[in-house]
Symmetry: C2
Subunit: 339 residues, 2 copies
DNA sequence: AACAGGACTGCAAACGTTTGAAATTTTTAG
DNA sequence: CTAAAAATTTCAAACGTTTGCAGTCCTGTT
C-alpha cells in the first residue's frame, strides 16, 4: 500500500528541486557536501529506491534481457540459463524467462512481449514447432530493431548476432564409433522426431559413422522415439524380437537409452555383455544408474556463458555487426554400459 | 540500430495528435472508423510496438514478477519455476529470475533490484546464508511496499503474503516408518547441514519416528552431508565400518542416497537385502537407477502453481491482507531399494 | 566599488504513453 | 439557415528521473 518515495517527495520535504536531489543521490560533484549528506541520509531513512522503470524510459535501456527456451525443467536447459545468469548477473542484467513448450505461437508472442519490454537482447532456443512452421518473421523483427539475437543450443540460420551450439553430428559419430571399436557390428539407433535439427544431426552422425566403417545400414534397426523414456519401450522390444537382434543401441538421448536398458534387462539380457548402450546428454542420471551409461556430454553451463559473452561483446562494439558462431565440442563419456 | 517507431512518429506522419493514434490503436470507440483503420494498418506496416516501459511508468504496473531461488539448475527448483510460469504466463506476466547461490548478499541485492524494477510481486525461496545471517530487513521492505511476497519451498516466518511448502518432517517420518515396517532396526541418517530448515525438519522426522517405534537413537548412525553425491561417500564408509553396521540408510536427498548405494554395492553388499535405502526428492534419476530408489516425492510444479495462484488472489482482493499458508503433502514412492 | 570567478541550485525538456476535459468539426433537427 | 447535439480530435498533465544550461549567491581581487 505504501507508495514508494520519489525524488519529488524528497525535494518537497527539503524545499529544493528534484535536480538537486537527483544529483545529491548520484554523488554529483557540484552538490554541497552538507546538502548531499542530508539528502542521502534522509533518502536512506525513508527507504528511497530509484525507479528503474523511469530510468529505462529515459535511457532506452532496460537492463533486462530475454531468454526464450522450449522448457526449463530439464537439466540441460536450466544449466544453460544458469550459465547466462552467471555472466550477466554482475553486469546488472535481469533475466526475463519465457517458456515456449515447443509452441510456435508462444514463441512469437514472447518475442513481441520482450521487444515491448525493451529488453536489450534475446537469447533463444528455437522451438520445434517453429522449425516445423517455417515462420521466422518474429525473429526478423528482433534483428530489425538492432537487438542482439543469440541462439542457444537450437539455432536457425539467419537473423543471428550469434549462436552457441554443440556439434550433435560429431557427438553421435563419436559415440557410434566407440561402439564399433568395442567390437559391435549391428548397431541400432533409437532416433528423435523427424525434422528436428538436433535429431537429424545425430541421425546423420550415426549413418556416416556406419558408412565410414563399411557397416550395413539396416532400416529395421532405426526407430523413431520422442525423447521420453516410455517412447523407447516398444521400439526396443521390437528390436529384440528381430531375427537378428542388434548388439548395441545408440539412443538419441539418455532417457531413451535408459528406457532401452530397462527393456533389455527385463528380458534377462545383460548390458553391456549382450547389448551395449550409449546415450546422449550425460544427464546427472547417467553416472549413477547401473550399469552406468556411456553418454555424450553437452556443456550446458558453458553454452550459456559463451552466449552471454557474445551478448556482452555486442554491447561494446557499437557499429559493426559481426556474427559470432560458436560450436562447442561435445565429449564422449565412456562408462560401463559399453565396455 | 533502427529506432523503434513511436506513437509520436505515427502522429507526425498522419498530422494528427498522439492521443488519436493511441486511441485508434486501442480501439477506443470515439475514433472514426476510417481513421482507426488507416492508423492501425500503418502501425502494422511499420511494425509499431507499444512501449511497455512507458506504460509501466504511467500505471505503476510492470507486468513483471520476481522469482528468487538459490539455484535453478536442479530438477525440483526448475519444476517450481515452471509451475509459476504455467499459471502466470497467460495472465501476461513476465518472470524475472534471480539466482542467489545461497548467498545472503545476492538475495538482498536482488530484492532491491526487483523493487527498483517495480515488479508486482516476489516469489522467494530463502537462501541458506540468509537463514544463517538472521537478516530479514530486505524482506521487510517488500512487505512495506505493499507487494506480495510469497515463499516457495523455503519459507521464513514473517513478512509473507503467502507460502507454499511441503512437510519435510512428515515426508521423512513416512520414509523412516516405511523402513521400520519392512523390518529394519538400525536405521542410519545421512543428514543435511546443521541449521538448514529443511535438513532440520527431515532430521526431526527421522528422530521422532524412531522414538515412536521405541528404537534407540544412535549418534554414530547420524552423519552430516552437504546434499552432494560425494559428500555421502566417506560417511557411508564409516557407517559400514562400524562394529554393528546399519541395516538401512535414510538419505537427506536422492543424491546422498545414491552416493551411499554406490559405496554399499562397491563393498559387495546388496541393496536392499543387506541394507535398505531411502532418499528424498523423487528426482527423475530415482526411478531408473538399479535398484530403483525409494524416495519421498515433492510436487515442485504444483508448489509453483499454487504460489502463483496465491499471487493471483492477492492481486484481486485489494484491501485485506490475508496470509495464505499452504503445506502440500509429500508422497512416499516405494521402489526396489527398500523391499 | 566593481567584477571575475567559483560554488551551488533551479529550470525545463526529454523518454512514450494514456486520459479527462476542452475544443473543434460534422451531423441532425427544427 | 441556425442552433443544438453528436462525433471526432486535440490539449495538457501525469508517471519518475536525468542533465545541459542558466541563474543566484558568495568570496576574493584589484
Amino acid at each position: 500500500m505504501n507508495k514508494p518515495v520519489t525524488i519529488k517527495d524528497i525535494a518537497k520535504k527539503f524545499k529544493c528541486s528534484p535536480s538537486t536531489v537527483s544529483r545529491a543521490l548520484n554523488n554529483h560533484p557540484s552538490i554541497n557536501e552538507d546538502t548531499r549528506r542530508n539528502l542521502q541520509e534522509y533518502a536512506q531513512k525513508v527507504g528511497y529506491q530509484r525507479n528503474q522503470v523511469s530510468l529505462s524510459l529515459l535511457n532506452k535501456k532496460s537492463a533486462n534481457v530475454g531468454v526464450i527456451v522450449p522448457t526449463i525443467n530439464n537439466y540441460y536447459e536450466s544449466a544453460i540459463i544458469e550459465g547466462i545468469d552467471a555472466v550477466l548477473q554482475n553486469m546488472g542484467y535481469t533475466l526475463n524467462i519465457c517458456v515456449t513448450n515447443e509452441q510456435y505461437l508462444l514463441e512469437a508472442e514472447y518475442v513481441e512481449k520482450l521487444l515491448s519490454n525493451r529488453v536489450e537482447g534475446i537469447f533463444l532456443s528455437v522451438s520445434q514447432e517453429t522449425y516445423d512452421s517455417g515462420h521466422y518473421e518474429h525473429l526478423e523483427q528482433v534483428v530489425k530493431r538492432g537487438l542482439p539475437l543469440i541462439y542457444i543450443d537450437r539455432e536457425y540460420e539467419g537473423f543471428a548476432t550469434g549462436s552457441v551450439t554443440i556439434d550433435d553430428y560429431d557427438g553421435a559419430f563419436a559415440a557410434v564409433e566407440h561402439l564399433i571399436q568395442t567390437g559391435r557390428k549391428r548397431i541400432a539407433h533409437l532416433r528423435g522426431p523427424n525434422g528436428m535439427a538436433l535429431a537429424e544431426q545425430r541421425f546423420r552422425g550415426y549413418i556416416e559413422c556406419l558408412k565410414k566403417h563399411n557397416l550395413d545400414i539396416d532400416e529395421s534397426l532405426i526407430i523413431t522415439t520422442n525423447f521420453k523414456v516410455e517412447s523407447a519401450i516398444e521400439p526396443t522390444q521390437s528390436l529384440l524380437d528381430l531375427p537378428e537382434a542388434p548388439d548395441a543401441i545408440f539412443g538419441v538421448n539418455d532417457q531413451v537409452a535408459i528406457g532401452a536398458m530397462k527393456v533389455i534387462r527385463s528380458r534377462g539380457l545383460k548390458v553391456p555383455e549382450n547389448i551395449a548402450i550409449a546415450g546422449f546428454d550425460d544427464s546427472p542420471i547417467s553416472a549413477y544408474i547401473y550399469p552406468s551409461l556411456t553418454s555424450v556430454a553437452r556443456p550446458g553451463r558453458r553454452i550459456g556463458m559463451e552466449a552471454a559473452r557474445i551478448f556482452e561483446a555486442s554491447q561494446k562494439d557499437t557499429g559493426e555487426t559481426t556474427v559470432t558462431t560458436l560450436v562447442l565440442p561435445s565429449e564422449l563419456i565412456i562408462r560401463e554400459s559399453s565396455c
